[in-house]
Subunit: 220 residues, 2 copies
DNA sequence: CCATCGAATAAGGTATACGGTATACGCAAA
DNA sequence: TTTGCGTATACCGTATACCTTATTCGATGG
């Protein structure tokens, strides 16, 4: 059941969602300049909520100030991807190990979330991104610690700007996303924190390798 | 030479700083209700920059929405302190271990930052907070990874609302803040990631214990 | 005294106007 | 052709007005 909460949604929230979607789907590609007046005209609303949405995206490091003229959609370099994956290394093994240590409800939560997500649609870049994020996020959610969640989100929000998700999708014939994550779930249920930490670290290392595979191909 | 950059400060930035200071110094105590119109009048500016500042503090979890009426300054419960310290456990041992692994410039940065901070003034709650934060933050800064830094800041920004820093200060006769952190620096220089991780974890555990000591005293 | 209803008020989201600053453009002089 | 200067324009931060919604308050009736 999906609770209807759109009565609480502000124009700023809607603007944020629209701009974020544009970034993820390449409508607003890397390096694109976002001017609040233009976006306001395009979205048919005033500048105020657009300004808020842009500030939020800035805080999430999805965009960066473009001098005196608006914002620029950030493009993640290889070096920055390395940093993202290093940061993932700080939190995801920690979280998975803790889930394994606790077992019980925490592990069950990871399992049930995974089973729901296995059959979720993954035909667009956005869907791939959201499912991947959700699978990893559930291992942190299971710990019921808002700080850990925010730390996770710090990384994954910016990952939105990593257009490599669409690129990985292009080579999907060689990548089975749900099955790649099954070891995560099994580790969560293992009761062995050391094993869980190891599985998470290896998964992250392998994930970074997927990006490398793409980078090795010529850009047309 | 200090570059003059105050021309870049907006009223929203100034409002943020003022409100944050009020929260840390108890002028705006826990549970206090912040209404943007009141604050605007008090600060002598319009609602717009105040609104921005409040949103920023909200995102940093220093304040939370108070239903339809403004924001409430959050008070950290014991349970939430536990979560903060757990989250610290994810990132600070990771960072210190990495500094130890790298050694060289990273370890030197931690040492030099520490030596600067040892003699920094620590007579007010704010000063104690800032120095403590800076010492721990430098172990993350040394890694030059903005994601790790943001993860660190996610925890420590909210810690601003932890008024226990002033309380710990009251019992300072039994706490030597700089010396408490010297093992951190030595671990950074040790070249031993496992040792560094252990030192960080123990330091965090001991730090949580300081809060407990306070909580055990009657509240007058 | 308590419950209900309508009006007033409080508070915030949004639209729009104003002003400041940086940048771009056009023109004249060297 | 290049450089410098003045003007116009672009863009954003801020102030203020307007509108909506929720809450509070006061009056009335049972």
């Amino acid at each position: 059941m999906k609770k209807i909460e759109f009565a609480r949604e502000t124009l700023a929230d809607a603007a944020y969602a629209q701009i974020a979607e544009g970034i993820l789907t390449h409508d607003l590609g890397p390096g694109a300049r976002l001017l609040m007046d233009d976006l306001a005209a395009r979205l048919g609303i005033s500048r105020t909520p657009v300004r808020e949405a842009l500030h939020r995206l800035e805080m999430e490091r999805v965009i960066e100030p473009g001098g005196r003229r608006g914002y620029i959609v950030r493009e993640l370099t290889d070096a920055e991807l390395d940093k993202q994956y290093a940061a993932r290394g700080a939190i995801e093994p920690f979280a998975l190990a803790e889930v394994a240590r606790r077992g019980g409800a925490a592990a069950k939560y990871v399992r049930s979330t995974f089973e729901e997500l296995v059959s979720a649609p993954q035909t667009t870049a956005m869907e791939v991104f959201l499912v991947n994020k959700a699978i990893h996020r559930c291992t942190v959610e299971a710990l019921d610690n808002e700080y850990l969640l925010s730390m996770f989100d710090v990384i994954w929000q910016t990952a939105m700007a990593a257009h490599v998700w669409a690129d990985i999708l292009e080579s999907r014939s060689s990548v089975d996303f749900p099955e790649m994550h099954r070891p995560i779930v099994e580790a969560a249920e293992s009761g062995d924190p050391e094993l869980a930490s190891k599985v998470a670290r290896e998964h992250i290392l392998a994930g970074r390798g997927l990006h490398s595979i793409h980078s090795a191909q010529p850009v047309v």
